[in-house]
Symmetry: C2
């Protein structure tokens, strides 16, 4: 066993190269530039572990890294996990898998990065399938062996012994390992996100409501269904087309089905005139009938998926072929983004269609590596097409890995357990991922409402009706409640948009687990949204729930009712309400419930709510909302501030901007609760 | 890609060495001598595939073997699978795992051997975790690509494309692969079993009823509970002691708890006087308080399990330490066998306690290899202790692998789905495994009966009451039905015993899947028992079921009702009956329902049932029932034969044996149905 040397890579970030790492890694695929200035603002930090206690070893072509654990330490993260928040005591097999029904660690986006409740993080940058024993195996030579108990006599015998170390196992001869300082878990995550290029800011329209239409719709059916949102007074910004828009799908041609969409530019223009953006479903497997098939064939892997090519997108020439096709056929027609399906692959459960781990690719990489990073490759490639045209995009993807936080993609799943969806929303925040708890169907009106409430407080608020033909008003009894939440989503756009700006500039996840607010809190059914909101979803069948409020004073977002934090309260919301709490001094900027997001240059009035008697401040982000101008310095922070004088009178102010003509915000109204 | 040379190893069996195989393999661990004479009797057979179509390749430290598939071919076997019979179209990850809840291929006994419905078998002899793509991945260069369908238009689109090959992936630089000829699937299995030393014959008492007592019982409680079987007129042969018999358990001391069992030899003697054999629970992990701990410590792996050593039992010196301890402490006290628990390990699901794949062992093997063959090592080691004393044993084990058919061990599980238990009974027969669908508890009296009926037609009929304290009469309403089946188990002992003799001499599994009777039949809820019986279990909640009867004429075992085979019938048995059918001409030798199995030298009368108007014959096996004398030639076949004269009169005869004094069978009564 060896004790590696740790090299400082950025403020509060160190790495070590163990053995001989392979060339293909998630961070290299993502290829983001660390945001060093922002990291420097966080301070240098100290190496958060005793480096002498970290050991490495090579065992049968595996690289093993061992990192000690305190007895009370919790382990968070490891990607889009559906079944646990704290992984302490569990083994995590971080394989990309589309059907993560069992608590093995496999998931759409397994990220080999964990955050300790003690305030440090560890990233293993590999495209191999990593196994992380999160205190789930015990070495014989450990100084802290687990207590011995006799199962035949000891009533508190437990099936899992306590281990004093994490053991990380990477197939192959080497890997680069990164350690991130805190001191809090949130600061660990911020450093990780900033090191990976900072979080992404969606276009404003990305934060509107999304609807995906039936598989076989043509342009007229799409238009007619979309217009129902307008006619029934429900906001909607994005319409998603499912496989049937392709001339051939499963595998994909990427060409329009001419009978269904005879004039795509005119269709997109007509939709845009009504305020709708178009999102296209696709997967990566290229139909023999695709025009680009012949060109891509020599650049593809040894195995097919649904009879389609699996292009080797680690090769620039393969990427250029797809990018040119998409640019000419989709972007030129006015398409705003993609839903990139099935880059995760099912192989061991349910159906079997993915290329195998032993597939070979022209670049020399194998199927295991390719599958682990295929979601990243597709995100990066499609992002670049839009960036070339200085258009921001917002889309959906079903696989991801480390280093993805700068990509404008939100994960989704074919799973549908509501509690797991909320847990995934919590867990995504540890790993630089975004997740939508999309709504598809419901057994009851109650479930419909509860799902709609949650999705409106998530990175992407979507009704995915491709196979269900549901509409927001599908349960007529609760139509007013659903409308209320879709409009609330729209009204909160300035608040959520600013939260995403903090994701980009400071690495703070816009929606995040309680453990990033209160270290070691492993709650999986409530979460933070933006700076000041705590969201406590209700699940069908419940009439009340417990909510853990962190220290301080909290207010019910809707009623303004005051609660003392630092403990657990029980709330009894009706169906019309999902409990949301705002911390004292919190500022919530809201805009009118427009049918769709404001366009570039469009100005909206603001209503700013302030809660409690403490002064408050919020940095409101503003830019054109559509281009990458903000990355070229063209953006504005407007400081919203509430002061409280000695008599308890509250006064709100918003800082001016020099070029007032550029502001997206007009009149401001203050509401003091 | 290369096309390997196939070397004939035995009649109808060929192998090829791909790359550089590792030294530790299941066949080497099992170490059985192929039964060449029996194989020669089966004939040479022809290499069952076109050798030019089988290719091998090395991809990123993996060895890949590709074997073509016909479009209709079914794939059976791959060990103790609970969720599928035909694996065509699925990927099987053959990892030893104690908690196989998902259909991945992982199980207690994953055997890298499959049987094709076309009548050949393939074995990959490796201690690594093999992945077998059973027609679940498609090469781009295949001559038979799957039909292309458009999901957006084609209503018969399917999620899994058809592949024309099996692809076998073995980690590491090489492996030896075996091919077995048929021509039928049953002959493939017979060759496999004979190559692995032939099946095992239990001691007669092993085929009696088994009961396992509560975890914390002492010798008086054990005796009292056992005597209830005698007092209530239920047969019972074996009493199993659970962890509490150890002075320390979890991990194990292997020493008796003196307060509970102050005089083990006297206890065993007292039990033996009543006709009970004693079976001891143990696992492989050695308590720091075990007397043999110090000796074993330098011979153990890098990691502990429940704080116990994991001895490296690939080392002869480690084996000798345990064998001597067991011999002196258990066998000398009169113990008849073991239940070897938890050699499978849980790591990825539920609790985590197993040594990891990257554990290191003094022999140089790693945890992956050791875990894959640990069950085999323990079976072999404990078998040898009994063999040394010329005593047959019969026991339980929770992990196995290829080459295990000669070991006197039956697999079991903590799973408890009744349909899965029956499916496992079917599947075990493809892989040289035995399995007990043990009874533990039931939600209703109906379920209790249905489970008891099935377990009485299995390799080991057991009530495992260690945590439930159930007894066969726990549901008083159905006590007579349960008694009927426990007694039927006892009455069928001559029939089942002879079926096991065929397992040893001819490789025919005593309980076997329908696909071994009718190639390509993938039924998973009925099975063959011995030569002539077809068992069709009922499951709780059912009042009728379909039964597929192979070609020919069949008779209801109990009522004698006649059925034409070659199709499916529906039966409506009451709760008191599990449908069992006997093929025309079938002979079922039965003995009286004794309280326990006959001892060596004890003679029982026979009742032989014959069904239908066709002549019939059965070779009835006879030996001392307790020692390995039969392997030294000391056994007798008695031919039971029924002839039918031109008038339809049936006459039964039993061949004489020279040394009549040695026969276990006395008077014979014929019953013609």
């Amino acid at each position: 066993m060896e004790t590696p040397e740790w090299i400082n890579q950025a403020p509060g970030i160190w790495s070590t190269v163990v053995g001989k790492p392979e060339d293909l890694t998630p961070l290299k695929v993502a290829g983001a530039t660390p945001r060093l200035a922002a990291l420097r603002e966080m301070g240098e930090g100290e190496f958060p572990l005793d480096p002498r206690t970290i050991t490495t070893e090579s065992v049968s072509s595996r690289t093993v890294i061992r990192i000690p654990l305190d007895s009370e330490e919790a382990i968070f993260g490891l990607g889009l996990q559906f079944l646990k928040v704290n992984h302490r005591g569990r083994t995590r097999y971080l394989r990309v898998n589309s059907d993560p029904r069992q608590d093995t660690g496999e998931t759409h986006a397994p990220v080999p990065f964990y955050v300790s409740s003690r305030g440090y993080g560890v990233l293993v940058d590999t495209a191999r399938i990593v196994t992380i024993y999160c205190g789930s195996c015990v070495r014989r030579d450990t100084p802290n062996p687990p207590a011995l108990k006799d199962r035949g006599r000891d009533p508190d015998w437990e099936p899992t012994p306590t281990s004093d170390a994490v053991e990380i196992v990477v197939p192959g001869e080497g890997v680069e390992v990164f350690v991130f300082a805190g001191p809090t878990p949130l600061e660990v995550v911020r450093r990780y996100n900033l090191f990976c290029g900072g979080g992404v800011i969606p276009p404003r329209w990305g934060l509107g409501f999304w609807h995906r239409v039936s598989l076989q719709y043509n342009h007229e059916q799409v238009h007619a269904e979309s217009m129902e949102y307008r006619n029934r007074d429900f906001p909607c910004d994005v319409i998603g087309l499912e496989p049937g828009w392709h001339s051939k799908s499963y595998p994909c041609s990427y060409e329009w089905a001419e009978d269904r969409f005879p004039d795509p530019p005119r269709f997109a223009e007509k939709m845009a005139a009504e305020g709708f953006h178009i999102n296209l479903w696709e997967h990566a497997y290229v139909s023999p009938e695709a025009k680009i098939h012949a060109e891509l064939e020599p650049l593809s892997g040894s195995h097919t998926v649904w009879g389609g090519l699996v292009p080797d997108y680690t090769l620039p020439e393969a990427r250029e072929i797809l990018k040119a096709q998409h640019e000419g056929t989709h972007l030129a027609a006015g398409v705003s983004g993609y839903k990139i399906d099935e880059c995760d692959g099912s192989e061991l459960t349910g159906c079997s269609w993915m290329f195998p781990a032993h597939a070979t690719f022209p670049s020399g990489h194998d199927g295991e590596q390719m599958r682990q990073v295929y979601g990243l490759l597709l995100q990066k490639m499609t992002t670049e097409i839009f960036r070339k045209h200085d258009r921001r995009t917002w889309g959906l993807v079903r696989a991801s890995n480390a280093g993805a936080c700068s990509f404008p993609y939100v994960l989704y799943s074919d799973l549908y357990d509501h509690r797991e969806f909320v847990r995934a929303l919590c867990n995504s925040s540890f790993s630089g991922l975004l997740w939508t708890p999309e709504v598809r169907s419901a057994a009851t009106a109650e479930e419909w409402v509860r799902r709609m409430q949650v999705v409106c407080f998530s990175p992407l608020a979507m009704l995915n009706a491709w196979s269900t033909s549901t509409m927001p008003w599908s349960f007529p009894d609760v139509e007013p409640i659903v409308r209320k939440y879709l409009k609330l989503r729209m009204r909160l756009m300035p608040y959520f948009y600013s939260a995403f700006a903090r994701y980009y500039f400071e690495g703070v996840p816009p929606f995040r687990a309680m453990a990033l607010e209160v270290p070691a809190c492993d709650l999986d059914d409530q979460y933070m949204a933006g700076d000041s909101m705590l969201v406590a979803p209700m699940f069908a069948g419940e009439t009340s729930r417990e909510v853990c409020l962190p220290e301080g004073v909290w207010f019910d977002f809707e009623t303004g009712k005051r609660f003392e934090g630092g403990g657990t309260i029980r709330v009894f919301p009706g169906l019309e309400t999902m409990p949301v709490f705002v911390r004292e001094g919190g500022l919530i900027p809201m805009m009118p419930p427009l049918p769709h997001a404001p366009r570039k240059g469009e100005r909206v009035p603001l209503e700013v709510r302030h809660y409690g008697n403490a002064p408050g401040r919020l940095d409101l982000f503003d830019d054109d909302g559509e281009t990458f101008a903000y990355q070229r310095g063209d953006y504005r922070w407007r400081t919203l501030e509430v002061t409280v004088d000695s008599g308890g009178t509250r006064t709100g102010t918003m800082s001016e901007v020099e070029e007032d003509r550029e502001s997206s915000y007009g009149e401001i109204a203050w509401m003091f609760t």
